[in-house]
């Protein structure tokens, strides 16, 4: 089992071995089988020294110098054991388990002894081995030992690589009616330039009929390992072919199903982003085109209206003219217009379509990759779990019956602890957001204090942008911290199997990173400017800080800036810095130990597996998935306020695919091929996000944008059925004599005239009514309309999503027909086989027939 460095399962000190050794053993298991196909150079060939037996697997270990001389150049072939004798292998059948046991707690001294014992075990199982130690003693402070293995039992082989059980030649998929066929032909013609040149498109229509039993029919299996690194490098890991489909079949053959599914998923997601990006751009352009016809912003910008607004902060700020908010009002219209509602609905359906499309694609891949009957039955407990249980049972040996209860309590307390830490983390995130808010408020006040007028005009924009950038930096930093915390928590929980370990880890990481990424945005969308109180009775926090107000046209604009900076910044920084920069840096550090001239020499002399040993280890797909899922959240959750999000995501992903491909092909060791039928917990998370997206978008449209107030004004209050007078309607009156003492502006004559009544954005009764400054009837009516909109939007969109979900079958029609046909064919083959067997029986075969005892139907 491959452990990734980032999500390493056990703290090193638990193992009782020091860093240096653990590194050696941790890097020790990786398959060598699939690295190269062109055996031009004998040195690089994956064969034993005799040039006949093919290497199936290579184990590596580090040896300290003093010891290494002992076994120097002991390139003797260690083949032993008969092929037939491996029928009843000893208990240690799995070399991995043995390796793990070996790994657990041995000291420097008896390392060699233990290694020899391990090798002896392998030999007993009938493996043939060739040992190679100390290839480059001049460059390293330690020697790297390689054990090349051939004659690996097929069941183990199959766990590590891609297996298949072909039965009979080919079965060409069913042909539809002539029209369908023609349409398909046309589509194929059109998309031909988009197909990668890997010469497998033709054969994708034909498929070997096979019946995969995974490990269950080992004797029928053989391993196909198409070594295609060069093709992948040219046709996949290149930016110049960004517009082409990925050669997923090849990726899967080389890297295994799990990696193949990731890239297939990324491909589908990117492909689906194209229509979303197009519609998003159209919506944005619609906003741009209609900005001049927008009555509310026209009214704001109209000097003749001459509306005096109440000050934005205590004392330092003074009254201001609404016309100065003209620019913001016009900009807000870009993201806050009627098309936004349409786009939010579109994106909710888009998310459902995407999920459905992926389900179908996954099913098709399952079929093509022969995984339809594959079931993920991995359930052997992790070594760390067994160690934990052993420790527990040793402790509680005096009362063995209480163990299960104790374990239960133990788990519960751990679970509670984890929940506590998680909520603490979310609290920390909130605190950070609050800190940024305070920063904004204080800077703003300070800037207002300064009297340079040119300085003041740019105040808002500067503060907004710097705050967003600070937020971004905090998000990126905390992301790393949270990742570490989630790992630590999961290790503390000691989950039983690797699968549950991974799922728990992913879930925790997801919760923390998601909260981290979205808390500032949620604050901006739903809380900012809503809990500010009113003039004369502002809400104060931390002594004398007034809560932030929104700009005149709502907080949508700021939400937009925040989203834009987070998306662009996160992607740029994380892509460039973490995905390109850090690996490059690590590689440099690794190679710094070897000086230049040795480098070249090494390149020539090193064997293929030796070179690969010095590549970066494969750290799992989780960080890649996590990045994409957060992006998916950005694209769907607040799409109502930022229609350009899909475009940004699309641009990022086109690069991301090739970037990841490059990384996989050139920078990392080939990961062990892991079978997987689906993308696991990530699908659940995607589904969760797309469900939450519906309600979040409903709230964004209803509460963050001004759509509902505009509609309510137009149909309930407007004298002529237009939006004329809307701005005046949204502004309440405040009598400046009602300011709390000490909060009135220092320069009341700032505008050049004495202000008696100023306006503020809220629906409250005027000072001269019976109930001054109470929420007005309009406030409640608009609130009811907003809430009604949320209910209608949520339920209509959910219904439509369910309908789309129901409309699109999960399994493509042709695939389900094909599966059915294949099953029939296999049954027929079985029948033929069985009939042959029966025939043999009748002519007298004395061997025992446990399966064929057919009871007579007459009881």
């Amino acid at each position: 089992m491959w452990r990734n460095e980032k999500y390493e399962t056990v703290p090193l000190d638990v193992k009782g071995i020091d860093e240096d050794n653990s590194k050696g053993t941790r890097d020790s298991l990786y398959p060598q089988t699939a690295v190269n196909e062109s055996p031009k150079d004998a040195k690089l060939s994956p064969y034993f020294q005799d040039g006949l037996r093919r290497i199936d697997y290579v184990l590596t270990y580090h040896v300290q110098k003093p010891q290494s001389t002992h076994k120097q150049s002991s390139k003797s072939c260690l083949c032993c054991g008969f092929r037939r004798e491996q029928k009843n292998p000893p208990a240690h059948e799995d070399p991995e388990l043995a390796a793990q046991e070996q790994r657990l707690d041995y000291h420097e001294d008896d390392q060699r002894l233990r290694r020899e014992e391990f090798e002896e075990n392998l030999r007993e199982m009938g493996l043939e081995m060739e040992k190679e130690e100390g290839v480059s003693p001049t460059v390293f402070s330690f020697t790297v030992g390689f054990i090349k293995i051939c004659n690996l039992p097929e069941n183990i082989m199959c766990e590590r690589a891609y297996c298949d059980v072909p039965f009979c030649k080919f079965l060409s998929p069913s042909q539809g009616s002539s029209i369908v066929e023609k349409v398909n032909m046309f589509i194929q013609k059109v998309t031909a330039p988009l197909q990668p040149n890997v010469g497998e498109n033709q054969t994708e229509n034909e498929k070997p009929l096979s019946y995969p039993f995974s490990r269950e029919k080992q004797h029928l299996m053989y391993v196909i390992l198409v070594l295609s690194l060069q093709i992948l490098y040219e046709q996949w890991a290149s930016y110049s072919i960004f517009y082409k489909y990925q050669p997923i079949g090849l990726v899967r053959k080389y890297f295994g199903e799990k990696v193949g599914l990731y890239f297939a998923w990324l491909g589908v997601y990117t492909q689906m982003l194209i229509p979303a990006a197009i519609v998003g751009v159209i919506v944005f352009l619609y906003g741009c085109a209609t900005v001049d016809d927008n009555i509310p912003s026209m009214e704001v910008c109209d000097e003749r209206n001459n509306i005096t607004m109440c000050p934005m902060c205590d004392r330092a700020c003074s009254y201001w003219k609404l016309v100065t908010a003209c620019g913001t009002a016009r900009a807000s219209h870009l993201f806050d217009n009627a098309a936004t509602v349409f786009f939010a609905i579109f994106m909710a359906l888009w998310a459902t379509m995407f999920m459905e499309h992926w389900k179908r694609r996954q099913m098709r891949l399952n079929y093509i990759w022969d995984l339809t009957s594959f079931e993920d039955t991995e359930s052997h407990p992790r070594a760390e779990y067994e160690f934990h249980v052993m420790k527990k049972s040793l402790k509680k040996e005096q009362s063995p019956k209480v163990v299960s209860v104790a374990k239960l309590i133990d788990y519960k307390s751990l679970f509670l602890f984890c929940s506590f830490v998680c909520s603490m983390q979310i609290f920390v995130t909130l605190a950070i957001v609050f800190g940024v808010v305070l920063y904004r408020v204080s800077i703003m006040t300070a800037l207002h204090m300064s009297s340079t007028p040119t300085f003041r005009t740019n105040i808002r924009a500067t503060v907004k942008t710097t705050a967003a950038i600070i937020n971004l930096i905090i998000i990126i930093l905390m992301d790393e911290v949270y990742g570490a915390i989630a790992r630590w928590l999961t290790i503390m929980e000691v989950p039983k199997t690797d699968k549950s370990f991974e799922e728990r880890l992913i879930f925790k990481t997801f919760i923390l990173k998601f909260a981290n990424a979205f808390t500032p945005i949620v604050y901006l969308a739903f809380f900012r400017g809503r809990i500010i109180g009113r003039p004369g009775k502002y809400l104060y926090v931390m002594g004398s800080y007034r809560m932030e107000e929104c700009a005149h046209a709502g907080c949508l604009m700021e939400l937009c800036i925040q989203l834009c900076i987070t998306m662009l910044g996160k992607q740029l920084i994380q892509n460039n810095l973490f995905e390109i920069g850090v690996p490059k840096l690590k590689k440099m550090l690794r190679q710094r130990k070897i000086d230049k001239k040795h480098q070249e020499e090494l390149n020539k002399t090193l064997h293929r597996h030796e070179k690969d040993h010095f590549l970066g280890p494969f750290v799992g797909l989780n960080p890649e998935y996590m990045e994409m899922i957060i992006q998916f959240g950005m694209v769907t959750l607040f799409v109502a306020s930022f229609p350009l999000a899909p475009l940004f995501a699309l641009l990022n992903n086109v690069i991301e695919i090739r970037l990841d491909a490059k990384k996989f092909v050139t920078e990392l060791r080939r990961p062990i091929a892991v079978r997987a039928k689906d993308i696991g917990i990530w699908y659940t998370l995607l589904r969760g996000i797309s469900k939450v997206a519906v309600i979040v978008n409903a709230f964004v449209i209803a509460f963050t944008s001004d759509l509902i107030p505009r509609l309510v004004y137009q149909y309930m209050y407007s004298p002529d059925g237009t939006l004329h007078g809307f701005v005046n309607h949204t502004l309440s009156y405040f009598n400046v004599s009602h300011f709390q003492p000490g909060t009135e502006p220092m320069e009341p004559m700032h505008l050049g005239y004495k202000v008696e009544v100023c306006r503020y954005k809220d629906y409250r009764d005027p000072p001269w009514s019976a109930t001054p400054y109470e929420f007005s009837r309009e406030f409640w009516a608009i609130l009811a309309a907003r809430l009604a909109f949320v209910i209608v939007f949520q339920n209509v969109v959910m219904l439509m999503s369910d309908f789309v979900d129901w409309l699109i079958p999960d399994i493509p029609k042709d695939i389900s027909i094909q599966i059915h046909k294949e099953r029939n064919l296999i049954v027929e083959l079985f029948m033929k086989e069985e009939r042959g067997k029966k025939y043999r029986n009748t002519i007298g075969d004395p061997s025992p027939q446990p399966l064929r005892s057919r009871p007579s139907s007459q009881a």
Copy 2:
């Protein structure tokens, strides 16, 4: 394939045969295999005349008298054909298809010829037959012929009955830890008296390890038919053991999986209703206990408040005192209190728990019944479909390429047509509801006209109850009409397979019947009393009818009465009349032709299969499911307004199970055992209902009950934080001088004093405000609160449901472990088998080995 009478697939006139014959052939296919086990009476034994060969299957046909003499007592054994010769059977392998072909279009004259041809075909397939005609020529105007068949090929047998492929002895399920074991033991002890005495509980812990291939491994199959009618009669179809679990295993063995699943589902549903009923009763009792402490009803009943209400109808009605609504107000509290919200949430979670519980139970049954690997692959087209396609292609022979397009258009138009008819039906339902409303309004007015005071006091109750009963009768009548329409529509659509036919039929029937059952309730809950206008400006429909008002305490009370009458009435009438009465009547009609003394004679002389021929045919499970699903709707959809619904449902279902059991055991022919893995589309419908239930209950609580106005008053308007003054707050003022001319009451002095201002239930501004009779600020605030409640309730409950769904695994832990273990065991067996085969190969077996060609792994 068994056709049920109710959901017959093709209109008889299409077939071109007359009613009498079709009935004969329609009843003709039913298996005889499993009817009796105690062959005390040789006459009743399921053997051929020779007493050796067992009868597998019996076909029946009707012969007109003149012909019947011809073949009188031709009890010759028609056995022929070698057992070995059936290896390559002719094309007509399926006797069902042949029978259908035979059924299609033959005339009176050549019936016999065709029958003989058919029999010849069967004989060619190697079946052994015994013919028997005219057993009771004295009683009937026609003779019944029976063809008994033995030596039926196992694949056909398996389609008709329950098959199993046991591999090795037994596998006892895994034992949990000692505590779990003890808990299980305790549960078993406690529930022991609830277990039916069928002697299968012990063996349920042990299970033959088998690997079902359904039809695919026919050669390994043998048929287990445990003939257990007597046990079922005693331990299942009896009212006296209503408290016991059902012997589901036996039911499934006798009736097949599909019927077994229905009764298992009904059992789980009934069982789950127990906690719901208990909580519902507690909620109701809570209402009863707190009715005297309820401040609003106290205020209504307080004579000192002396509130004069506006008249309930134009001219005929006069002002009335609020105190007269005291009874209604008190009664309303029973169903409208704080516990209702809790109960609605409880029931939403209950529905989710029920679905989950059923999923697990189904999985367990799948495991016990060996269906885990079974896949429903029935896809051969229906004869009617093929006939339709043939007709089409004959018509369009000149332009064969257009067929598929034409078919497409054809289907589309049919689909549109169906949608149109369905919406027409819903419209009709609405019209009927409206008619009932008009009935209520007019009767009410008429009654008000009469001046007898004792008469008037009971007016409301009488009208409500009669209206509800009229509604009920209409619902029951229209139910039958809608059933017929749905069937007719589906037949017009000509679906391809039986499965799609059934699904479409169920879906249509469900939509229509559901709309029929729930439209009056929805009207009462959400529309009644909301669109009435206000005094002085009432809303009039159909000329001069004012829309109905609700009683003072909201419409919840009337909703309650309607639900109560619908549930009780529907269940009583449908159970008693349709399920007991009609079958009895039909049986009587059938037996009237035979006079008494013959009856007794017949009972003695008739063979078992001859007796069974005169039982009622099995009409499918759809009506049973439909009834239950509508009941499930009643229980979940409006449970917020009627907490006793689960209790009523429980009482009904306890009887329903035994009633259905009796019907299946004694009244109907044994249906052909049909395999099924799940309850199919019904599960989808249940899920849909439980989703809709959340939002419906949210709306009932928010809008139908007075909970939200009470809370808003208490926390926003109440001077002392209690509900004192709430009644006054809900009533608006109306100046009687503002009545429209001609609508003021004829007897304004009815109460003994001159009324200047009357009150009505609404939140509107008083006549003396600036905006008289406009919706007041309170109205909008309460509306906003109601809507906010809906959003919060819906999302919280949905989240909780999803959480429960996620928390409970779909497959019980022990079953999933067991399945895994079994798979491993089977693989081991396979491996052993294969190894044996390989061994044989090496010692030289010349037979071809298509499956064993193992490519060498060294390429």
